[in-house]
């Protein structure tokens, strides 16, 4: 059995007492004994062949603990980068959604009802701007109308106008919105309902736009 602590290390021997370029450490000052290979740093495969001659699966599933620890941490690092990529993809998915929505932002004008069809305190449900965007129009007085998206800003249940009480009520979780402003006044919703801009002309009421609000 050889007494050589380097055990076949091809690197040249260096004198630990002398500071020289061959004493390479993290900062150039580490003692040379740091580089003496210990037995637990050496992986010996069952077939006694060198590591570079081993199949890939044996390098990925090492048989000794130090190498296993190294491979595990290395693969965890790779997994974290993959997770990071997934989060970035999610961010850009949101951005793409926003861009797509902005692209088709001008919804155009849609006739909702004739003025004469709606009594004071009466309501009409309509879709605007898309075919699956339910909204509700309420006639507050002879010449005052309000319209909001009918989706509750909590969990998208349909809100029900109650003009006599001046509120819109969400029956799912007992949310209430002020009928005049569309702002939440009770229950879990904390954002106002999107307001539908209206135009009354030629005896008819038209939806002309949507105002998304955060406060």
């Amino acid at each position: 059995m050889s007494d050589d602590p380097h055990m076949g290390d091809p690197r040249p021997d260096v004198d630990p007492r002398v500071t020289s370029p061959t004493r390479e450490g993290l900062a150039g000052t580490a003692p040379v004994s740091l580089y003496v290979r210990t037995r637990d740093q050496i992986t010996i495969a069952p077939d006694f062949k060198p590591p570079e001659a081993q199949p890939a699966w044996r390098r990925d599933f090492p048989i000794d603990w130090p190498q296993d620890q190294y491979v595990e941490r290395r693969d965890f690092m790779k997994f974290l980068v993959l997770t990071s990529f997934a989060f970035t993809t999610g961010q850009f998915w949101i951005a793409a959604q926003q861009w797509w929505q902005r692209r088709g932002e001008v919804p155009g004008e849609r006739r909702i009802a004739a003025v004469g069809d709606l009594a004071v305190g009466g309501t009409v449900v309509f879709d605007y701007p898309g075919e699956h965007d339910p909204c509700v129009l309420v006639r507050m007085s002879a010449d005052e109308y309000v319209a909001y998206s009918q989706k509750c800003t909590h969990l998208s249940c349909a809100v029900i106008p109650q003009p006599e009480e001046g509120v819109l009520h969400c029956p799912c979780h007992e949310g209430y919105f002020d009928l005049r402003s569309g702002r939440p006044i009770a229950g879990p919703p904390n954002r106002p309902l999107p307001r539908i801009h209206l135009d009354v002309r030629d005896g008819a009421i038209y939806a002309t736009g949507v105002e998304w609000r955060t406060t």
């Binding site: 390479e24 580089y35 290395r74 790779k78 980068v81 989060f87 970035t88 949101i94 951005a95």
Partner: protein, 78 residues
Amino acid sequence: MTRPRPFSRDQRVIIIYGMLAFAVIIVVLQLWLLTATMNAYLGADTAVVWPAAAASLFCLLLNVGLLRYLARLDRSAG
């Protein structure tokens, strides 16, 4: 000119621990960024969407940089 001595396995494990510490912080930051952006976006506040996406991309680039260094570390080990 002598060739730099490759890191020993113990040293490489320590380096990877250091990289993991950075990567975990970056990924947690990205998770927070994603949830905050989603919350703002669903609340119709779209002003933060693109800056947040850029910040997340920057975080990803940092992580990819760490990964490249890891690959180099692996190669240097032979």
